[in-house]
Symmetry: C2
Subunit: 240 residues, 2 copies
């Protein structure tokens, strides 16, 4: 069903999101559950949240991508397909898709979760995308869900095939930190060791003078990426 044909109550809280998803839910309740984080259900009775949908959505995503790769890359070995699939089906690409939809603002979560940055949290956003995929699967069937996945993951698939998925942790760290206003992110080369052709670099990243991570690598750039990755991991952990 095209969104334009969708039975819409102008006050429907889902209108905006359904337009972004280019999907019209027959059963709006499913979308509601997909958009409900577990924190919202805490201490309330009979509130369904999206974890079970996420469990199902992960499988729908896997088969959609697996079949696409299997059918379109008949010369690639199982090992190559598995590697590509892992690049496509990962928290980071789910997060990127969530950002495009501005999904964070549509999620129901507890005040506490919201105050600690829940609307921007990578894991919450990624899980919510999987839950939406499952909701479409239940609401409209396998073929529709597959079509939805392939439309929304098209860019990621193309990049994975062309080996263009570069995990840029420095950019991501900047994005995350700047959510709370301007910040000063500094990468300091602490030391290096080894002969020139096999030199190992040690870099430390600080945000507003607070050290957030240390990284190593066989180039300065690699060690900075590694430090940024560690910092992001630390932040994810702190924010639960």
């Amino acid at each position: 069903m095209l969104v334009n044909e969708c039975v819409i109550n102008k006050n429907d809280i889902f209108v905006e999101l359904e337009r972004k998803l280019d999907t019209c839910f027959k059963n709006k309740e499913l979308l509601k559950v997909a958009l409900t984080h577990s924190s919202y259900a805490n201490g309330k009775k009979n509130i369904k949240f999206n974890e079970r949908l996420e469990f199902l959505g992960d499988s729908v995503l896997q088969i959609s991508i697996s079949e696409y790769l299997f059918l379109n890359y008949s010369k690639k070995t199982e090992g190559e397909l598995t590697k590509r699939r892992a690049l496509i089906v990962c928290e980071n690409s789910l997060y990127e898709i969530a950002k495009k939809w501005d999904l964070g603002k549509h999620i129901r979560m507890s005040k506490g979760e919201e105050l600690t940055g829940g609307r921007e949290r990578v894991s919450i956003l990624a899980d919510c995308v999987e839950a939406i995929i499952a909701a479409i699967y239940i609401d409209a069937g396998f073929e529709k869900a597959k079509e939805f996945v392939l439309t929304n993951f098209k860019e990621t698939i193309d990049k994975a095939i062309k080996n263009k998925i570069v995990l840029d942790y420095k950019t991501k760290l900047q994005e995350v930190m700047q959510k709370n206003g301007d910040v000063d992110i500094q990468y300091d080369l602490i030391k290096y060791e080894g002969p020139p052709h096999r030199r190992k670099f040690y870099t430390q990243v600080s945000v507003n003078s607070k050290v957030l991570g240390n990284g190593t690598g066989y180039s300065k750039k690699e060690s900075e990426q590694s430090a940024a990755k560690k910092a992001l991991k630390g932040l994810e952990k702190d924010n639960g």
Copy 2:
């Protein structure tokens, strides 16, 4: 299509297996590829083997089981569903299904692979079951493949739900070793340590006086299971 309605050439090499699978392939070539181990293709031109199908089949299996659990156990949390699914979708249950079909004798593999026990190898049999699931998916569609999975995994699902999947490594080790005739499997308690309420047992398993594994556990039984598990791992490794 029922097997009885299946267009059968009496000399068709697949008749027997199709009966066991209760499936009639429109495209027999798919079944043939699913039954071809990579070793068979070594050094030959244009022989397709089952690794790519296995890649796809794994996803078909995952979604079939995930959906079944999701729909039938609406009170179980995502964590419980994930735990159950891991018990159902694993090499061991695939292997059990392969044994029921006597799948080993239908697989095309190299002489070398066959001579080193390939027809009984857990990984080869398990992978082949996944490839067959993918072949049905491509040949007959998603619904048929799902039906096939649920029919064949029914017993495993029931056991997983009732928490009756006991991984009995001692029985499995005996089965594997007895393939080559009578053997003498012995479990020796080497030592134990710690106070009675928290006593740790160390057991060694030997087959025909050759030590194959060491295990520990907080009961004699547990340490024997652990030793048998180690022995099985070692055998899998030796056989490639």
